[in-house]
Symmetry: C2
Subunit: 216 residues, 2 copies
Amino acid sequence: MRASDRAYGSLRADILEWRLPPGTLLAEVEQASRLGISRTPLREALSRLVAEGLTAAHSGRGVVVTAVSLAGVADLFEVRLPLECAAARLAAARGDRAAFDALAERFEAAGALISSGGTDQHAYYGLVAELDAAIDEAAANPYLVQAQRQLRTHLVRARRLARDNPDRLLASAGEHRQIAEAVARGNPELAAAAVTIHLSNSLHHLQASVPGPLDA
Amino acid sequence: MRASDRAYGSLRADILEWRLPPGTLLAEVEQASRLGISRTPLREALSRLVAEGLTAAHSGRGVVVTAVSLAGVADLFEVRLPLECAAARLAAARGDRAAFDALAERFEAAGALISSGGTDQHAYYGLVAELDAAIDEAAANPYLVQAQRQLRTHLVRARRLARDNPDRLLASAGEHRQIAEAVARGNPELAAAAVTIHLSNSLHHLQASVPGPLDA
DNA sequence: TCGGACCTTTCTGTATACATAGGTCGGCCT
DNA sequence: AGGCCGACCTATGTATACAGAAAGGTCCGA
């Protein structure tokens, strides 16, 4: 694997998991030495992060990790809604029934697990990512996948704005089960409706759980 | 301006205008010498093109200009439809009436110009780009703008698959006028409907005017 | 004491040099 | 004659050196 790929992955993970919080200045020489590589592959990694919108070029000073604001999250969901609906519609029309039936069952099991208190948040988000990946694969549209990938990247950071409580996680599992079931049934409009409900609730939860503007 | 920016803009324009047709191999040393710059800024430009999907990294051989196929165009429109509709809805809800009224009038004038035979295709596409830009500005959503920018880049190349005839251009001008008017009226659903009609006709024209699979 | 200008420092942007990997061409073996 | 192996060569990936520019600090003057 190339050094620039490793640097990109490492920096991206650090930003997504808030080890590099918003506002952090990423100087080239500093990061290059930290990652044990030269400036050339590091610059390529930074370029990719800037293109993704995770960092912004602060002219003459290097790149800084971009802020995550409530207003930005609202914008994000404004675009996510039509895209996720489109993806769900396509997946319902083209997808494999068995795969989404299986996912629906796993979300039901996850809901039961959450109710019983054995909340493994990380594993749950992994399951959500699996559903997203299954929908992407079923939709079979590279442009859609690329656009979704960009948005989901920012979503991961936005999640940290809100503290996930078990109640919301339980509701989320139910909503995801609804989506998977609708896709499994091959009903595009039902799938789009389920996605609309989920995103609406998800955004509302995010906005309600953040008291003030907490952008860094 | 940075040398990498110039290289990026130059290569991007060359690809979009088919001076570098699909399948062209872009070798680093060759392009660097052609553009009169070093390999370092050229590599940054190529990275951006790969991220945009205009070129693909052919491992060990450099990057090649990606193909444009009819199937790809269909995928493109599958994503454009929900995004452009969402943008039109937001613009109708938030936009400035006067600006879109003015654009509607200009599309009417453009239609008259096309009817009279004075077809300036380049100027017309410039006007379309102005409407797109106005909608983007009115929608005021950076995530939406970025996603649209990616798709429109590919659209520009796809246009070359079909030969634009004056009849289609005239119809297109009318459809764009409808969009601008709907946005000016502040009617989101009307605007989305107008966008749906335009994209549907646009895709149909593209598919009808390409007899066989002409991907390069 | 405050403001402005100059200087220094450090950063980015670019070029070039070097190593390695992959591709191609030719020869040899079957 | 066809296929396989090896060597050479070219192009990419990385490192480093250098120049230009911008930001911050400091010093001088009002």
